[in-house]
Protein backbone atom coordinates (compact mmCIF):
# COMPACT_ATOMS: atom_id res chain seq x y z
CA UNK A 1 0.00 0.00 0.00
CA UNK A 2 1.52 3.33 -1.08
CA UNK A 3 1.61 6.20 1.43
CA UNK A 4 0.03 9.43 0.20
CA UNK A 5 2.23 12.54 0.09
CA UNK A 6 1.31 15.23 2.60
CA UNK A 7 1.94 18.93 2.99
CA UNK A 8 1.07 21.56 5.56
CA UNK A 9 -2.19 23.45 5.66
CA UNK A 10 -1.43 25.87 8.45
CA UNK A 11 -0.25 23.66 11.31
CA UNK A 12 -2.25 20.72 9.99
CA UNK A 13 -0.85 18.04 7.66
CA UNK A 14 -3.08 17.32 4.67
CA UNK A 15 -2.76 15.22 1.53
CA UNK A 16 -0.88 17.25 -1.08
CA UNK A 17 -3.67 17.12 -3.63
CA UNK A 18 -6.17 18.39 -1.04
CA UNK A 19 -4.31 21.58 -0.05
CA UNK A 20 -5.44 23.68 -3.02
CA UNK A 21 -9.04 22.75 -2.30
CA UNK A 22 -8.71 23.64 1.39
CA UNK A 23 -7.02 26.97 0.57
CA UNK A 24 -9.75 27.67 -1.97
CA UNK A 25 -12.40 27.15 0.75
CA UNK A 26 -10.65 29.69 2.97
CA UNK A 27 -10.60 32.33 0.25
CA UNK A 28 -14.16 31.63 -0.91
CA UNK A 29 -15.14 32.35 2.68
CA UNK A 30 -13.19 35.59 3.14
CA UNK A 31 -13.37 37.04 -0.41
CA UNK A 32 -16.29 39.41 0.20
CA UNK A 33 -14.65 41.11 3.17
CA UNK A 34 -11.01 40.53 2.22
CA UNK A 35 -10.14 44.24 1.83
CA UNK A 36 -11.84 45.24 5.06
CA UNK A 37 -10.07 42.48 6.95
CA UNK A 38 -6.71 43.39 5.41
CA UNK A 39 -7.15 46.97 6.57
CA UNK A 40 -8.20 45.90 10.04
CA UNK A 41 -5.52 43.23 10.40
CA UNK A 42 -2.64 45.42 9.29
CA UNK A 43 -3.97 48.80 10.41
CA UNK A 44 -3.82 49.88 6.78
CA UNK A 45 -0.08 49.20 6.57
CA UNK A 46 -0.59 46.63 3.77
CA UNK A 47 -1.14 49.63 1.47
CA UNK A 48 2.37 50.89 2.29
CA UNK A 49 3.88 47.47 1.64
CA UNK A 50 2.10 47.24 -1.72
CA UNK A 51 3.06 50.76 -2.74
CA UNK A 52 6.71 50.02 -1.99
CA UNK A 53 6.42 46.86 -4.10
CA UNK A 54 5.12 48.91 -7.02
CA UNK A 55 8.04 51.34 -6.68
CA UNK A 56 10.56 48.50 -6.70
CA UNK A 57 8.91 46.86 -9.71
CA UNK A 58 10.10 49.78 -11.90
CA UNK A 59 7.18 49.02 -14.23
CA UNK A 60 6.78 51.61 -16.96
CA UNK A 61 4.60 52.38 -19.96
CA UNK A 62 4.26 49.50 -22.42
CA UNK A 63 5.28 46.76 -19.95
CA UNK A 64 3.48 43.44 -19.55
CA UNK A 65 2.81 42.60 -15.91
CA UNK A 66 1.46 39.43 -14.32
CA UNK A 67 -0.09 39.92 -10.88
CA UNK A 68 -0.36 36.38 -9.46
CA UNK A 69 -2.73 35.79 -6.55
CA UNK A 70 -3.81 39.33 -7.33
CA UNK A 71 -6.96 38.91 -5.25
CA UNK A 72 -8.90 42.12 -5.06
CA UNK A 73 -6.63 43.91 -7.52
CA UNK A 74 -4.73 46.48 -5.38
CA UNK A 75 -1.50 46.00 -7.33
CA UNK A 76 -3.19 45.47 -10.71
CA UNK A 77 -4.97 48.82 -10.45
CA UNK A 78 -1.69 50.71 -9.95
CA UNK A 79 0.09 48.67 -12.62
CA UNK A 80 -2.73 49.36 -15.07
CA UNK A 81 -2.13 53.11 -14.60
CA UNK A 82 1.63 52.70 -15.01
CA UNK A 83 1.74 50.53 -18.13
CA UNK A 84 -0.68 52.79 -20.00
CA UNK A 85 -2.66 51.91 -23.12
CA UNK A 86 0.28 50.12 -24.78
CA UNK A 87 0.93 47.83 -21.82
CA UNK A 88 -0.91 44.87 -20.37
CA UNK A 89 -1.71 43.72 -16.85
CA UNK A 90 -2.95 40.20 -16.18
CA UNK A 91 -4.68 39.74 -12.85
CA UNK A 92 -4.45 36.05 -12.06
CA UNK A 93 -5.87 34.18 -9.10
CA UNK A 94 -6.61 30.51 -8.56
CA UNK A 95 -9.74 31.40 -6.65
CA UNK A 96 -12.83 32.37 -8.68
CA UNK A 97 -14.45 34.25 -5.77
CA UNK A 98 -11.40 36.44 -5.25
CA UNK A 99 -11.06 37.00 -8.99
CA UNK A 100 -14.72 38.07 -9.26
CA UNK A 101 -14.34 40.53 -6.39
CA UNK A 102 -11.13 41.88 -7.97
CA UNK A 103 -12.68 42.22 -11.42
CA UNK A 104 -15.77 44.06 -10.11
CA UNK A 105 -13.65 46.34 -7.99
CA UNK A 106 -11.31 47.24 -10.84
CA UNK A 107 -14.16 47.91 -13.23
CA UNK A 108 -15.84 50.10 -10.58
CA UNK A 109 -12.61 52.10 -10.34
CA UNK A 110 -12.53 52.56 -14.10
CA UNK A 111 -9.55 50.32 -14.78
CA UNK A 112 -10.10 48.66 -18.14
CA UNK A 113 -8.63 48.30 -21.60
CA UNK A 114 -5.17 47.15 -20.61
CA UNK A 115 -6.34 44.65 -17.98
CA UNK A 116 -7.26 40.99 -18.38
CA UNK A 117 -8.22 38.38 -15.85
CA UNK A 118 -7.17 34.75 -15.63
CA UNK A 119 -8.12 32.02 -13.21
CA UNK A 120 -4.73 30.38 -12.99
CA UNK A 121 -2.68 28.16 -10.69
CA UNK A 122 0.75 29.65 -9.94
CA UNK A 123 2.30 26.20 -10.42
CA UNK A 124 0.95 25.83 -13.95
CA UNK A 125 0.91 29.30 -15.45
CA UNK A 126 -1.04 29.24 -18.73
CA UNK A 127 1.19 31.69 -20.61
CA UNK A 128 3.92 31.29 -23.24
CA UNK A 129 7.60 31.43 -22.28
CA UNK A 130 9.25 34.87 -21.99
CA UNK A 131 5.99 36.86 -21.89
CA UNK A 132 6.15 39.27 -18.94
CA UNK A 133 8.45 42.13 -17.95
CA UNK A 134 7.43 41.83 -14.33
CA UNK A 135 5.64 39.31 -12.12
CA UNK A 136 4.35 40.06 -8.65
CA UNK A 137 2.82 37.76 -6.09
CA UNK A 138 1.62 39.53 -2.97
CA UNK A 139 0.57 37.49 0.04
CA UNK A 140 -0.04 34.49 -2.19
CA UNK A 141 3.07 32.31 -2.29
CA UNK A 142 2.53 30.82 1.16
CA UNK A 143 -0.77 29.32 -0.03
CA UNK A 144 0.82 27.59 -3.00
CA UNK A 145 1.22 23.82 -2.52
CA UNK A 146 4.57 23.44 -4.32
CA UNK A 147 6.46 26.73 -4.08
CA UNK A 148 9.52 25.50 -6.01
CA UNK A 149 7.31 24.49 -8.90
CA UNK A 150 5.58 27.89 -8.85
CA UNK A 151 8.93 29.73 -8.85
CA UNK A 152 10.05 27.70 -11.88
CA UNK A 153 6.78 28.51 -13.68
CA UNK A 154 7.26 32.21 -12.98
CA UNK A 155 10.83 32.07 -14.28
CA UNK A 156 9.60 30.43 -17.47
CA UNK A 157 6.99 33.10 -18.31
CA UNK A 158 9.27 36.04 -17.41
CA UNK A 159 11.24 37.70 -20.20
CA UNK A 160 15.03 37.59 -19.79
CA UNK A 161 15.87 40.61 -17.63
CA UNK A 162 12.34 40.62 -16.22
CA UNK A 163 11.92 40.72 -12.49
CA UNK A 164 9.92 38.79 -9.92
CA UNK A 165 8.72 40.45 -6.73
CA UNK A 166 7.37 38.37 -3.88
CA UNK A 167 5.64 40.28 -1.11
CA UNK A 168 4.92 37.94 1.76
CA UNK A 169 4.68 37.71 5.52
CA UNK A 170 8.01 36.66 6.96
CA UNK A 171 9.95 36.34 10.18
CA UNK A 172 10.36 39.41 12.45
CA UNK A 173 14.00 40.11 13.34
CA UNK A 174 13.31 41.25 16.90
CA UNK A 175 12.30 38.49 19.41
CA UNK A 176 10.08 40.92 21.35
CA UNK A 177 8.26 41.95 18.18
CA UNK A 178 7.90 38.27 17.25
CA UNK A 179 6.30 37.52 20.61
CA UNK A 180 3.86 40.40 20.31
CA UNK A 181 3.13 39.42 16.71
CA UNK A 182 2.42 35.80 17.73
CA UNK A 183 -0.02 36.93 20.40
CA UNK A 184 -1.75 39.19 17.90
CA UNK A 185 -1.90 36.52 15.17
CA UNK A 186 -3.17 33.63 17.24
CA UNK A 187 -5.43 35.45 19.71
CA UNK A 188 -6.66 38.69 18.18
CA UNK A 189 -6.73 37.77 14.49
CA UNK A 190 -9.15 34.79 14.77
CA UNK A 191 -11.31 36.89 17.10
CA UNK A 192 -11.52 39.66 14.51
CA UNK A 193 -12.31 37.05 11.86
CA UNK A 194 -15.11 35.73 14.03
CA UNK A 195 -16.59 39.19 14.60
CA UNK A 196 -16.37 40.43 11.03
CA UNK A 197 -16.81 37.38 8.80
CA UNK A 198 -18.12 34.93 11.39
CA UNK A 199 -15.24 32.67 10.37
CA UNK A 200 -12.42 32.37 12.90
CA UNK A 201 -11.03 29.16 11.31
CA UNK A 202 -10.06 30.88 8.07
CA UNK A 203 -8.16 33.57 9.93
CA UNK A 204 -6.51 31.00 12.17
CA UNK A 205 -5.32 29.32 8.97
CA UNK A 206 -3.93 32.66 7.71
CA UNK A 207 -1.92 33.05 10.92
CA UNK A 208 -0.69 29.45 10.86
CA UNK A 209 0.24 29.58 7.18
CA UNK A 210 2.40 32.65 7.88
CA UNK A 211 4.36 30.69 10.50
CA UNK A 212 4.85 27.75 8.12
CA UNK A 213 6.14 29.98 5.30
CA UNK A 214 9.92 29.90 4.68
CA UNK A 215 11.88 32.71 6.35
CA UNK A 216 13.69 35.40 4.36
CA UNK A 217 16.96 33.57 3.73
CA UNK A 218 15.26 30.28 2.89
CA UNK A 219 12.98 31.88 0.32
CA UNK A 220 15.94 33.71 -1.22
CA UNK A 221 17.70 30.33 -1.51
CA UNK A 222 14.63 28.86 -3.18
CA UNK A 223 14.66 31.67 -5.74
CA UNK A 224 18.34 31.07 -6.42
CA UNK A 225 17.67 27.34 -6.87
CA UNK A 226 14.83 28.07 -9.31
CA UNK A 227 17.28 29.98 -11.50
CA UNK A 228 16.74 33.62 -10.55
CA UNK A 229 19.79 35.88 -10.27
CA UNK A 230 20.48 39.09 -8.32
CA UNK A 231 18.09 37.87 -5.64
CA UNK A 232 17.66 40.06 -2.59
CA UNK A 233 15.08 40.86 0.05
CA UNK A 234 14.01 43.93 1.94
CA UNK A 235 12.41 43.60 5.37
CA UNK A 236 9.50 45.86 6.14
CA UNK A 237 7.87 46.69 9.48
CA UNK A 238 10.57 44.85 11.40
CA UNK A 239 10.49 41.77 9.14
CA UNK A 240 6.78 41.06 9.62
CA UNK A 241 6.73 41.36 5.85
CA UNK A 242 9.58 40.96 3.35
CA UNK A 243 9.83 41.89 -0.29
CA UNK A 244 11.97 39.41 -2.26
CA UNK A 245 13.26 40.35 -5.68
CA UNK A 246 14.94 38.33 -8.40
CA UNK A 247 15.78 38.72 -12.08
CA UNK A 248 15.54 36.18 -14.88
CA UNK A 249 19.00 35.82 -16.46
Amino acid sequence: MSEKKTTHFGFEQVETDKKAERVADVFHSVAGKYDLMNDLMSGGVHRLWKRYTIEKSAVRAGHKVLDIAGGTGDLSYQFSRKVGPDGLVVLADINASMLNVGRDRLLDRGAAGNLTFAQADAQYLPFPDNTFDCITIAFGLRNVTDKDMALEAMLRVLKPGGRLLILEFSKPGNPLLEKAYDTYSFKLLPLMGKLITNDSDSYRYLAESIRMHPDQKTLQGMMDSAGFVMTEFQNMTGGIVALHMGVKP
Binding site: V45, L48, Y52, E55, A58, Q234, M236, T237, L243
Partner: protein, 208 residues
Protein backbone atom coordinates in the same frame (compact mmCIF):
# COMPACT_ATOMS: atom_id res chain seq x y z
CA UNK B 1 18.86 51.60 5.39
CA UNK B 2 15.76 53.58 6.38
CA UNK B 3 12.48 51.82 7.10
CA UNK B 4 10.58 51.53 3.78
CA UNK B 5 7.16 51.44 5.48
CA UNK B 6 7.81 54.67 7.40
CA UNK B 7 9.29 56.46 4.38
CA UNK B 8 6.41 55.32 2.17
CA UNK B 9 3.91 56.57 4.78
CA UNK B 10 5.69 59.93 4.91
CA UNK B 11 5.60 60.22 1.11
CA UNK B 12 1.87 59.44 1.05
CA UNK B 13 1.18 62.15 3.64
CA UNK B 14 3.29 64.71 1.73
CA UNK B 15 1.68 63.77 -1.57
CA UNK B 16 -1.82 64.17 -0.10
CA UNK B 17 -0.89 67.53 1.45
CA UNK B 18 0.50 68.87 -1.84
CA UNK B 19 -2.40 67.52 -3.90
CA UNK B 20 -4.93 69.05 -1.48
CA UNK B 21 -3.09 72.40 -1.44
CA UNK B 22 -3.00 72.44 -5.25
CA UNK B 23 -6.72 71.81 -5.43
CA UNK B 24 -7.27 75.11 -3.61
CA UNK B 25 -4.77 77.02 -5.75
CA UNK B 26 -5.79 76.45 -9.38
CA UNK B 27 -3.23 79.00 -10.63
CA UNK B 28 -0.28 77.08 -9.24
CA UNK B 29 -1.86 73.79 -10.34
CA UNK B 30 -2.03 75.10 -13.93
CA UNK B 31 1.61 76.19 -13.73
CA UNK B 32 2.58 72.78 -12.36
CA UNK B 33 1.13 71.14 -15.47
CA UNK B 34 4.04 72.65 -17.40
CA UNK B 35 6.35 70.34 -15.43
CA UNK B 36 4.29 67.23 -16.28
CA UNK B 37 6.47 64.30 -17.24
CA UNK B 38 9.58 65.67 -15.48
CA UNK B 39 11.19 63.96 -12.51
CA UNK B 40 13.29 65.76 -9.91
CA UNK B 41 15.58 63.78 -7.62
CA UNK B 42 16.24 65.30 -4.22
CA UNK B 43 19.34 63.54 -2.97
CA UNK B 44 19.41 64.51 0.68
CA UNK B 45 22.63 63.88 2.59
CA UNK B 46 21.31 64.72 6.08
CA UNK B 47 19.09 62.77 6.73
CA UNK B 48 20.36 60.35 4.07
CA UNK B 49 17.35 59.79 1.84
CA UNK B 50 16.53 60.01 -1.83
CA UNK B 51 13.17 61.40 -2.91
CA UNK B 52 11.98 61.35 -6.50
CA UNK B 53 9.29 63.91 -7.35
CA UNK B 54 7.36 62.91 -10.46
CA UNK B 55 5.24 65.75 -11.80
CA UNK B 56 1.85 64.92 -13.26
CA UNK B 57 -0.70 67.14 -14.98
CA UNK B 58 -2.47 68.03 -11.73
CA UNK B 59 -0.54 66.32 -8.97
CA UNK B 60 2.80 64.95 -7.91
CA UNK B 61 4.00 61.46 -6.99
CA UNK B 62 6.77 60.91 -4.48
CA UNK B 63 8.92 57.79 -4.50
CA UNK B 64 12.05 56.55 -2.80
CA UNK B 65 12.92 54.29 -5.71
CA UNK B 66 12.90 55.14 -9.41
CA UNK B 67 14.87 53.60 -12.26
CA UNK B 68 14.24 55.90 -15.25
CA UNK B 69 16.27 59.00 -16.09
CA UNK B 70 15.63 62.08 -13.96
CA UNK B 71 15.37 65.62 -15.33
CA UNK B 72 17.45 67.17 -12.54
CA UNK B 73 19.16 66.18 -9.30
CA UNK B 74 19.36 68.46 -6.30
CA UNK B 75 21.97 67.42 -3.72
CA UNK B 76 22.58 68.81 -0.24
CA UNK B 77 21.37 68.64 3.35
CA UNK B 78 17.62 68.66 4.01
CA UNK B 79 17.77 72.09 5.69
CA UNK B 80 19.76 73.68 2.84
CA UNK B 81 17.45 72.25 0.17
CA UNK B 82 14.32 73.43 2.01
CA UNK B 83 15.86 76.92 2.42
CA UNK B 84 16.60 77.07 -1.29
CA UNK B 85 13.19 75.84 -2.43
CA UNK B 86 11.03 77.85 -0.06
CA UNK B 87 13.24 80.85 0.77
CA UNK B 88 14.06 84.04 -1.15
CA UNK B 89 17.46 82.85 -2.37
CA UNK B 90 17.69 82.72 -6.16
CA UNK B 91 21.27 81.56 -6.53
CA UNK B 92 22.91 78.29 -5.60
CA UNK B 93 26.02 80.21 -4.54
CA UNK B 94 26.75 79.62 -0.87
CA UNK B 95 23.53 77.61 -0.47
CA UNK B 96 25.28 74.29 0.20
CA UNK B 97 23.15 72.76 -2.57
CA UNK B 98 24.35 71.54 -5.95
CA UNK B 99 22.28 70.76 -9.03
CA UNK B 100 22.91 68.58 -12.06
CA UNK B 101 20.73 68.11 -15.11
CA UNK B 102 18.09 70.60 -16.23
CA UNK B 103 18.29 73.56 -13.82
CA UNK B 104 15.16 75.03 -15.43
CA UNK B 105 13.04 72.47 -13.55
CA UNK B 106 14.35 73.81 -10.25
CA UNK B 107 13.76 77.43 -11.27
CA UNK B 108 10.14 76.62 -12.23
CA UNK B 109 9.58 74.72 -9.01
CA UNK B 110 11.06 77.52 -6.92
CA UNK B 111 8.77 79.99 -8.68
CA UNK B 112 5.75 77.80 -7.97
CA UNK B 113 6.64 77.40 -4.29
CA UNK B 114 7.01 81.19 -3.99
CA UNK B 115 3.63 82.01 -5.55
CA UNK B 116 1.56 79.33 -3.78
CA UNK B 117 -1.64 81.11 -2.73
CA UNK B 118 -4.11 78.68 -1.20
CA UNK B 119 -7.79 79.64 -1.10
CA UNK B 120 -8.35 78.71 2.55
CA UNK B 121 -11.96 79.91 2.42
CA UNK B 122 -12.77 77.39 -0.31
CA UNK B 123 -11.02 74.65 1.67
CA UNK B 124 -13.08 75.59 4.72
CA UNK B 125 -16.26 75.67 2.62
CA UNK B 126 -15.68 72.06 1.55
CA UNK B 127 -15.54 71.09 5.21
CA UNK B 128 -18.26 73.17 6.84
CA UNK B 129 -20.32 74.68 4.02
CA UNK B 130 -20.17 77.96 2.09
CA UNK B 131 -21.97 80.32 4.46
CA UNK B 132 -20.29 79.25 7.72
CA UNK B 133 -16.92 79.23 5.91
CA UNK B 134 -17.44 82.78 4.61
CA UNK B 135 -18.51 84.01 8.05
CA UNK B 136 -15.57 82.31 9.72
CA UNK B 137 -13.10 83.53 7.08
CA UNK B 138 -14.41 87.11 7.44
CA UNK B 139 -14.04 86.91 11.22
CA UNK B 140 -10.52 85.54 10.84
CA UNK B 141 -9.63 88.27 8.33
CA UNK B 142 -11.00 90.97 10.66
CA UNK B 143 -9.22 89.46 13.65
CA UNK B 144 -6.01 89.18 11.67
CA UNK B 145 -6.30 92.82 10.44
CA UNK B 146 -7.02 94.04 13.98
CA UNK B 147 -4.05 92.01 15.27
CA UNK B 148 -1.77 93.45 12.58
CA UNK B 149 -2.89 97.04 13.38
CA UNK B 150 -2.38 96.49 17.11
CA UNK B 151 1.07 95.00 16.47
CA UNK B 152 2.05 97.95 14.27
CA UNK B 153 0.64 100.43 16.84
CA UNK B 154 2.55 98.77 19.66
CA UNK B 155 5.77 98.88 17.64
CA UNK B 156 5.27 102.61 16.93
CA UNK B 157 4.59 103.35 20.62
CA UNK B 158 7.71 101.51 21.77
CA UNK B 159 9.79 103.29 19.14
CA UNK B 160 8.50 106.70 20.23
CA UNK B 161 8.98 105.94 23.91
CA UNK B 162 12.60 104.84 23.42
CA UNK B 163 13.45 107.79 21.18
CA UNK B 164 11.42 110.66 22.70
CA UNK B 165 10.57 109.87 26.32
CA UNK B 166 13.53 107.90 27.60
CA UNK B 167 16.10 109.18 25.06
CA UNK B 168 17.64 105.74 25.27
CA UNK B 169 18.10 105.59 21.50
CA UNK B 170 18.21 108.09 18.66
CA UNK B 171 15.17 108.69 16.48
CA UNK B 172 15.45 107.96 12.77
CA UNK B 173 15.46 111.74 11.80
CA UNK B 174 18.02 112.59 14.48
CA UNK B 175 20.24 109.79 13.29
CA UNK B 176 19.94 111.04 9.67
CA UNK B 177 20.96 114.56 10.78
CA UNK B 178 23.87 113.09 12.72
CA UNK B 179 25.05 111.13 9.67
CA UNK B 180 24.72 114.29 7.49
CA UNK B 181 26.82 116.25 9.99
CA UNK B 182 29.51 113.59 9.90
CA UNK B 183 29.50 113.66 6.09
CA UNK B 184 29.80 117.47 6.04
CA UNK B 185 32.60 117.44 8.61
CA UNK B 186 34.47 114.78 6.63
CA UNK B 187 34.14 116.85 3.43
CA UNK B 188 35.34 120.01 5.22
CA UNK B 189 38.32 118.14 6.64
CA UNK B 190 39.15 116.76 3.20
CA UNK B 191 39.09 120.29 1.75
CA UNK B 192 41.19 121.62 4.62
CA UNK B 193 43.72 118.80 4.14
CA UNK B 194 43.93 119.59 0.43
CA UNK B 195 44.53 123.32 1.12
CA UNK B 196 47.24 122.58 3.65
CA UNK B 197 48.91 120.25 1.16
CA UNK B 198 48.77 122.94 -1.54
CA UNK B 199 50.17 125.66 0.80
CA UNK B 200 52.95 123.31 1.91
CA UNK B 201 53.83 122.59 -1.72
CA UNK B 202 53.93 126.35 -2.50
CA UNK B 203 56.12 127.03 0.56
CA UNK B 204 58.55 124.27 -0.48
CA UNK B 205 58.75 125.77 -3.97
CA UNK B 206 59.64 129.25 -2.55
CA UNK B 207 62.36 127.80 -0.27
CA UNK B 208 64.11 126.27 -3.24
Amino acid sequence: MSNPSAITALFIVLEKAVTTALRYDPGTQAQLAKLAGQTLLIDCSRPAQKMYIQFGAADITLAGHYEDDVSATLSGSGADIAKLLFGDQHSLYGSGVSISGNAGVLAQLQGLAGQLDIDWEMALADLIGTLPAHTLANSLRTASGWGRERAQGAERLVREYLAEESSAVLGRSEFALFVDDIDNTRLALDRLGARIARLRARQDHKDH
